[in-house]
Structure formats: C-alpha cells, structure tokens
Symmetry: C2
Subunit: 229 residues, 2 copies
DNA sequence: GTCTATAGTGCGATAGAC
DNA sequence: GTCTATCGCACTATAGAC
C-alpha cells in the first residue's frame, strides 16, 4: 500500500470515528441532528488541534477557538461540557484510530521480517496523516486527568508490546538476533515518535515519510542483524 | 568517569551557572546581595521545574510557585519582570550547561569509536542529572518567543551536528559504515531524548542510566557495523 | 441550534507598608 | 528585601433572546 492509498483509507476511518464520538457522547452534546453535529465536531476538533499545535491546549482560550472555528462560545458549549472534556474526546478518538489501523494493517502478517517492516511503515504513515493529533496527544499528555492518563499509557505500552512480540518471534525463528527485545522495541518507538515530534527538522531537510521509513527499517535491520534479501 | 563522579561535576557547574544568571540579569533582578539572590534564584528555578514537570509551565500559576517556594508574589517579582522572562532564564542556562559539559567531556577525544561512546554516555548522564530541566525545555519549547525559539533550535542542531561529524569521521577512516550520517545522527538523538522524555517507562522497568547507555551504544554500533573489540 | 451578554473566578502584575 | 492588599483583565461557563 502506497502512502497515498493509506491516506485515503485513514481519512475515511477518521470520518467514521467522528460519527462514533457523536454517538457515544450524546449525553454531553446538546445537538440532536447527526449531520449538523458531525460537521461542527469535525470543525471543532481540527481547529483545536491546529491552535494547540501552535501554542498548546492550555494557552489556547475558548475565545481563540470560537474565533478560529467561526462558532460562538455558546455554540461550542453545545458540543462539550468543559474544556477538559474536549481534550479527553480528542485524545480518546486518536487512540482508537491508532489501534484500529495498526491491527488492520499489521495483524494478519505472519513473517516477522515483513511484519516488522509493515509495523514501522504503518506507524509512520499513520502519524504522518494524523500528525496534528499525535503531536497534540504527545504534548498534552500531562494535562489530562488520571483516568485518561492511564489510558494513554496503556495505549503507548500496547504499541510497544506489538514490537516486542515481533522481535521475540523473529529471534525465536532465528531471523533476528535480539538480546533485549524490550529495550529494542523502546528505541524503535523513539525513532517513530521523532518523525512527528521533530517534524520541523525533517521537513526542513526535505525528508519524505517513505525516505524516513526506508532509513529506519534499514537501521533496525542492521542492528538486529537481518540478512539482506 | 562514573555516573556519580559526573553527577558531582555537573552539580558544581550548575551552581556556577546560577551565579552567572544573577550577574547577567541584574537589570531585571532587584536584589543586590549576591548570596541572597543566588539562594532564592536556585529555589525559584528548582520549584518552577518541579511544578512545570507536573502540570506544565502555562498551567502553573505564579500563586502556585509562590506557595511551593515559600516566597511571596512580591518577592518573586524581585527576581524577574514577567512570567515569560522566568521561562527564558531557565531555558538559557540549561542550554549553556549542555554546551559546556558536552565540549568538556567529548571535545578532546579523537578516535571516532571512543568519541561516539563518550558522546552518547555523556548526553545520557547529563539528561539524567538535569532530567527536570531537559523535560521542561523539551515540553515548553513552543511557548517561548521567536528569539528564544531560534536559540533552542540552534542548540538542538548543534548537538546533532556533533554526532554527524563523529559519524562522518568514522566512515572516512573506515571504522563505521554510515550511508546517511544526517538521518543516523537524527535517530541517535531520538534515542537519547527518549531517556528523559519517557522516564516513567524506564524507571518502571528499573533500567539504570548505565544499562540504557550500554544498550544504545551497542545498538548504534551494530547498525553502523563497528567491529566488536 | 446558534447567538449575545454577562456572571463569577483566578490570573499576572504592582503599590506601598514594614 | 519581603510582605499583604489590590487593580484590571481575560478566562471558563451559563442564561436567555432569537
């Protein structure tokens, strides 16, 4: 799957997820017509991500959000009961997209070498498409309540566990040589995070997501001593 | 140099740097007696770092800082002219310590293999000792003004350039095999950053800074194909 | 369903007593 | 050199008109 194909697929999933948010938060959302609600929610989320990525969620006031989204303060409060709840809604749906897409794209692969490559590339594609959400989620992690924080940690460790499993499977089959799968998975994850956290750096250097993916895959394979095909 | 020796040295440098801040910011600082000023500045900085690491600099109010540091609001404003200036002062001095210590510990080494190892270990030791500052600096980078932001970027790229130089030198001498020194340096840096950004993860797994350093050095050396001694 | 107007709170910053 | 008291402002959140 090329990056452009991936992008289309992720966009469709994103729309579905916005609809899910609406349905699951109907107790907080005063608007009853789904078409109106989903349209405005999408607007609110993307504007929040844009503003928060510029100056942080705490620094962004709801007046800023009102001005940029074109919705009044009163209208905004028809979609959430507090600023904190808005943050939680956005975080939750991003986590959900991560889990769905990683499972769909990687879950069925059995060969550890292919699976490692697919996991790295899919993760990078995902964070490229959802760049704003991932950066937001990364930077605002400590501003959420304990319950949400626990979910964020679980989500992070679940992704890391996927890499641990792949590495252990490959080691067992004699395809990789991995002395410490936990630390190896951990540094792999740090390389993947760097793609969206330090995006200014990569974009200044004109590195595409596929270039970065190829490099990271090569780097990891050298380190875990995969024989080149 | 062991971690404990390093720690002592860094602590001494940190005291000197607090004195430097006082001397260079005497226009903003109303207090004239150096002993009093340095003592209170140290208190203000460490309390700010502690609170900001918990909930972010923007979220921390100066009333929080006043309560935790034991200094009144009025007293705080004897040491800086605005909350923003407090942020800038802390950032500046951390950058300075990074530059001084990396140069002192790594600059004189000529063998690329030794130099790579020393650079990785020194960087990890430094971020371990100054964990709160590095996390603060990393998370608050987008909340500072354009001038400070430019300095932060320059500082980051300077550290990365050090790794690029080491890798190119090693490649030239036939000690490493590095196809893309820029991206290689970039992923090395991401692994180093992970140590202080995801500290909760490493500390939960009971990984010491030396264990992490040994692992990262081994991982990089495998990837750039250094023959084991 | 969306708006404007405003209540109520807590902020950064300062003046002036000690 | 440090404190308390307070100013003016911008914020989150809500009530009620349309």
């Amino acid at each position: 799957m090329t990056f452009n194909e991936f992008k289309q697929m992720a966009m469709i999933s994103m729309e579905e997820i916005c609809r899910d948010i609406f349905r699951e938060n109907q107790k907080s959302i005063k608007i009853k017509k789904e078409a109106v609600a989903v349209k405005n929610l999408t607007n609110i989320f993307s504007t929040t991500l844009k503003l928060s990525n510029e100056k942080g969620f705490q620094t962004m006031s709801l007046r800023d959000l009102s001005r940029s989204s074109g919705l009044s303060m009163g209208a905004l409060y028809s979609y959430f009961t507090s600023k904190e709840e808005l943050l939680a809604m956005i975080q939750e749906q991003g986590r959900r997209l991560t889990r769905i897409i990683l499972t769909r794209q990687v879950g069925h692969i059995t060969d550890p070498r292919e699976k490692l490559q697919a996991a790295v590339r899919t993760h990078l594609y995902l964070t490229e498409v959802m760049q704003e959400w991932f950066y937001f989620s990364y930077m605002e992690a400590k501003n959420i309540d304990k319950v949400q924080q626990k979910k964020a940690i679980e989500s992070e460790l679940a992704t890391e566990q996927m890499f641990i499993d792949i590495l252990e499977e490959g080691d067992k089959k004699g395809l990789f040589s991995v002395s410490d799968p936990v630390l190896t998975a951990s540094v792999i994850k740090s390389m993947l995070q760097d793609w969206y956290v330090k995006r200014w750096k990569h974009s200044r250097r004109r590195i595409s997501v596929d270039q970065y993916a190829d490099f990271v895959i090569g780097f990891i394979e050298s380190a875990v001593k995969v024989a080149k095909a």
